[in-house]
Amino acid sequence: MPEQKQVTLTIDGTKITVKEGTTILEAAKQAGIDIPTLCFLKEINEMGDCRMCIVEVEGRKGFATSCIQKVEEGMVVKTNTPEVLEARRTLLDLIISNHSKDCLICTRSGNCELQALAIKFHIQDIEYPGERTKHVIDDKSPAIVRDFEKCILCRRCVGACKNVQKIGAIDCVGRGFESCVSTAWDSSLNDVDCTFCGQCIEACPTGALKEKDSTKDVWKALKNPDKVVIAQTAPAVRAALGEEFGMPIGTNVTGKMITALKKLGFYKVFDTNTGADLTIMEEANEFIERFSKNEHLPMITSCSPGWVRFAEKNYPELLDHLSTCKSPHQMFGAIVKSYYAQKYEIDPNKIYMVSVMPCIAKKYECSRPEMEVDSLRDVDAVITTRELARMLKQANIIFEELEDGTFDSPMGEATGAGAIFGTTGGVMEAAIRTVADTLEGKSLKQIDYEAVRGGKGIKRATVSIQGKEIKIVVASGLANARTIMEEIKQGKADYQFVEIMACPGGCVMGGGQPIKSSKIRREVDVRKLRADCLYSIDEKSTIRKSNESPVMQELYREYLGRPGSKMAHKLLHTSYQKQEKYKI
């Protein structure tokens, strides 16, 4: 490989040598200089629109755009001259002049990149006040609320939706001062091709995009003496919740999270990982059946509701390929309200099931009409990692100092296989562990499938079980999902089993996870840190296969019979149907 050329330049008087092709912003960082940005989001939105990152380059007429313009040999850059600072202040003033100023009642107060800049520049009054663009709040969908009075047109959300996910439910519309980010014909997100993956929320620097808040419902249930309020927590939540309390990214806070939930007044705290184990039992069985009959292959996982909505809207003709398994938390909700309620003699009508999820599409999923059994909703409320953190803060819980708790029995002991559900490749790895054991008829020792781990968008591998080759594919992010679906559609798919997660990187990077600033996302691989946390939980688990879980064995023995049984179908499986892409 040819050695990469080096470029030497001067930034604020400091000489520095960096690789050719480095941006001025990145070079400045290497020189220890922090340049403010707003519209920049690494690999998602690199447009240079907001102009906050402008710097002076000797010999150039206007300012340079440091976030995207590359270094040149001998370049002399100044990042903090009075002219640069004054221009940045004026730009900031202009942005704020067209922005809501009700920071006190904004969900992003304290975690807003615009607010942070306003504080930094000590903006005390608006020098250029004037007309503000008017928008109607869109809160029709069960998952996302858009308040574009807070939009600063950075278009990071568009980058996430259109360029990363290749959905393009939102785009820039209109022109000039009136331009804004909107949907086709300014419809609600509910009525267009939005999948509720929530990547736009993660990308938004302000409060223009947020999840639909469900904490009020949960507080109300907790207050109601007639309700038995039970929580279940998804695998990815424990790898990220700590971030909201200042802990390093990827800290495993399982124990503290359980204690905290108990302190909030939840009657029981269960582990969705157990639901994941159940999903594996059913899904592995379903796969083996389809594989042996060579029917509806490749089979595709169905745990990601954003992905399911995507499939229903874009590939209605291929819905047969989806596993009929409900997602883990829905399965788990159904089991709690049937098996568990029966066993512990609780009136299932009194149970209020709260799922704590890294996902906002789950809010939509739990509201789908088919997600109920005998008129009992599987899950009553979904709150995100962020919402849980907010509840804990409101309750004065000093999270960092909590003692570790453990999940409640009998539904609390999950396997390592359940834990890795929260990252791309995890569902596939967990499923293959059980499929292999089942087909081979013995407990295999080699259970780490490295080929499906890591952050790559599409991972392909072949596993050999009982002399048979099973080709598997793991895709995360909807752009990659589309690639796979096109392969299937065109008859080019030579694989049998596919895992798809809507969010790039899987649930650890879900739309309900703590929002990381552009700066952090530039400097740290958030996905890897959170995923590593889950793999380490798996590694440390004594039981790492769903089929070897005593909880599963008991559940099937006492209640469900065997995987794929009539009872299992009633409680744990669902169906899909074509959805119009646009309801307009």
């Binding site: 259109k162 959905i167 393009g168 439910a169 939102i170 785009d171 820039c172 519309v173 209109g174 022109r175 909107s182 949907t183 086709a184 014909w185 267009v192 091709d193 892409k581 646009y582 307009i584």
Partner: protein, 165 residues
């Protein structure tokens, strides 16, 4: 009955759109060309046509909408039978075209970009139709009226008002 009729209209539009589209390669850079043709044909870009275009070019509908709302030539509402367009290019502005636009708005009781309730007139302004020698200028559909005054405007409006269907 009405439902049926709506269906027929949609079918007709769909077929016509297919005819328009088949001339073009399904490549994104044809979007503006196609929109120009549809605008020309229908006087606006119907929603169904937008969906068909998005589908054909494999681009998101929101992007199609974004492009339509960016270019002032494209409209989402049908224009009036007679679209009166006042030139606000500098040459015309300096010669008083703003007064003509103001008069037009008050006379027809509509704003720029709007159509009269009877669908007969719509108003917009344009930047230079290129007839600067005739400034100030307004056009009715493709007919150019040069060296215009408020009085000639009034006469022209009357003329079209009285024109038989």
């Amino acid at each position: 009955m009405e439902e049926n009729c709506k269906n027929c209209m949609e079918q007709k539009l769909k077929k016509e759109m297919e005819e328009i589209l088949q001339v073009y390669q399904p490549e994104k850079d044809n979007l503006i060309q196609i929109l120009n043709e549809v605008q020309e044909k229908y006087g606006y870009i119907p929603k169904l046509a937008q969906m068909q275009i998005a589908d054909y070019l494999k681009i998101p509908l929101a992007e199609v909408y974004g492009v339509i709302t960016f270019y002032s030539r494209f409209t989402l509402q049908p224009k009036g039978k007679y679209n009166i367009s006042v030139c606000l290019g500098t040459a015309c502005f300096v010669k008083g075209s703003q007064a003509i636009l103001d008069r037009l708005k008050s006379k027809l009781q509509i704003e720029e970009g709007q159509t009269t309730p009877d669908g007969k007139f719509s108003i917009d302004s344009t930047r230079c139709v290129g007839a600067c020698g005739l400034a100030p200028v307004f056009t009715v559909n493709n007919e150019v009226y040069g060296r215009a005054t408020v009085k000639t405007l009034d006469e022209v409006i009357e003329k079209y008002k009285n024109r038989e269907e």
